[in-house]
């Protein structure tokens, strides 16, 4: 058995810890509805994807009709809309509670790709819904943090029944 290359292992673990910290901070901003602060984490030109529940493996949002495949302008529009008083579905706002685990670094070149499992509990008007799935974050290092260049929320639900709809940023 060869000696463990501790420097490589340490680098990998440190990267994962940095990414985890980033994901936890992101989740906290979204749970707190600090959407403009969250948008600060997102690169201009970034994309936000939610594939349809019958095609969680889909990667091409023109070949397949995604539930959400926001280009940056639409994502900004989505956030701005949610901050008005007329985004009725989120007035009053959902209370969301995100759990993130199983964080894995899937790639580092040309960008860091991090996959993680999520559970988002959403409570609203007497109903608790549980959104489960996998996040995939494409991250560009910036300073001692990251910026999101691509963000996937891949639901592992068979359908949005009985989840209903996705009114908040998943």
């Amino acid at each position: 058995m060869s000696a463990l290359d501790t420097s490589v292992t340490t680098d990998r673990l440190l990267l994962r810890l940095r990414v985890e910290e980033f994901l936890y901070e992101e989740a906290a901003l979204l749970d707190a509805w600090r959407l403009q602060d969250w948008l600060e984490l997102v690169d201009e030109g970034a994309r936000y994807y939610v594939p349809p529940t019958d095609r969680p493996d889909a990667r091409d949002s023109v070949e397949t009709a995604f539930i959400i495949s926001d280009r940056y302008e639409l994502l900004v529009g989505r956030v701005n809309r949610l901050e008005t008083d007329a985004a009725w579905v989120e007035r009053p706002r959902s209370r969301t509670h995100r759990m993130i685990s199983n964080v894995r670094i899937a790639g580092v070149e040309p960008q860091i790709v991090a996959r993680s499992n999520f559970i988002v509990h959403r409570v609203r008007r007497g109903v608790t819904d549980c959104f489960t799935g996998t996040y995939e974050h494409h991250l560009r290092p910036e300073g001692d943090s990251f910026r999101i260049t691509e963000r996937w929320a891949i639901l592992q639900a068979e359908a949005l029944q009985p989840l209903g709809k996705i009114g908040f940023i998943l």
């Binding site: 639409l74 007329a86 359908a159 996705i166």
Partner: protein
Amino acid sequence: MSIDTTTDAPVFVSGRRQLLRDDPSTGDFAVHRSVFTDPALYEAERELIFNRCWLYAGHVSEVPDVGDYVTRTLLGRPVILARDRHGELRVFFNTCRHRGALVCREAKGNDTMFTCFYHKWQYRNSGELLGVPGKATFPDSFDVGDFGLVSPAKVEVFRDFVFVSFSSDTPPLLDYLAGAADFIERVADQDLGGEMEIVDGAHMYSMRCNWKLVVENSIDGYHGFPVHATYFQFIGSQGVDLSVGLDGVARDLGNGHACLDYLAPFGRTVAKTTAPMSDRAKELIEAKRKLADEVLGEERAHLVADRSKNIFVYPNLLIIDAASLQVRVLEPVRTDYTDVNSWLLAPKGEDRELRRQRIEGYQEFLGPGGLATPDDCEALETCQLGFESVREVEWNLVNKGYGTGGPDAVDNEVQIRAFWRQWHTQMTRSTIASNGGVSR
């Protein structure tokens, strides 16, 4: 429940005498809120409406090749749509004739056979029972030829839309569709000589409300600006000219079918460019619009390409031909809960840039993640909650534009009244027949 045989007045399963007020002389039109809350009425609807009407089951393009199949649920029943070995489109109840298990458990695929894994009974994709293990030990009277997969009482296809009926008494599909047939054709004609197809990716969502609220909302032009202001603000911010507004008419298409037929500010991949579109998309759309004139003639091309249409095919199919093209099917689950299944429809072989535009047009407004549809969910779910006070606040008004002599503009309600009248007729006539043996 008592049955009054002395008058023609309907007595509904709930025991109420009146669920609809309809008086053209005063313009009074109101719907009793118990129609959204009463479990007995809901059960009656399933029998008297959904078991007796044509129901959309799927689109021919979902099973293009021999052996292709898709499975889904229709009014709670698991069904299979299959292209059999002869190339025929078939619809089967997905249940083994032996003891009931599903004979197909995949969402879609391609196979020559459906095999029940419980006792290994095997069916051809054309329905015949091929064989059963241990055949020699069954009684002589058991003939496998009598135990093929069962199909709904009627299956018909109109312009690649597949419909089924669970009743053999349902009139032929074209008669049933009445004025809706031409509007379905105005959608199907967007193939411009080619074919239409369902786009990969189904959006299966739900609303915590009665299915009839979703029907009303899908053809309601009155709610557009108050509910969807943030959508119009967004497309306006992208450079879409909003000065056009929603300009058109609401139509009663007969037999409960109805539609909105209008010009709108948003872009249409068949006809209308908007400022934020790419140059390439604009070129392609302009070329397509010219082709529409050639293929369809100018008058027809205007109806097909330029005009947006929210088409309601009674009782539970909506074809929303607006900034995109959506097939939306309502699956009632409980009196206060409805599954909504939604697909995009598009010309087969559409240019990628137009397909992208079509999908974005959908996502900006429609579906469970759009900037607009989730707000409709909120509206309808709060209506449902409001109906809890039905004992004290009994009636919904559907009287906008009624008897006023004004035009049937898209923000009036003639189309919603058309739905309610058909609903009422079916519930009334059938309820009397089922309760008192009196038929009209």
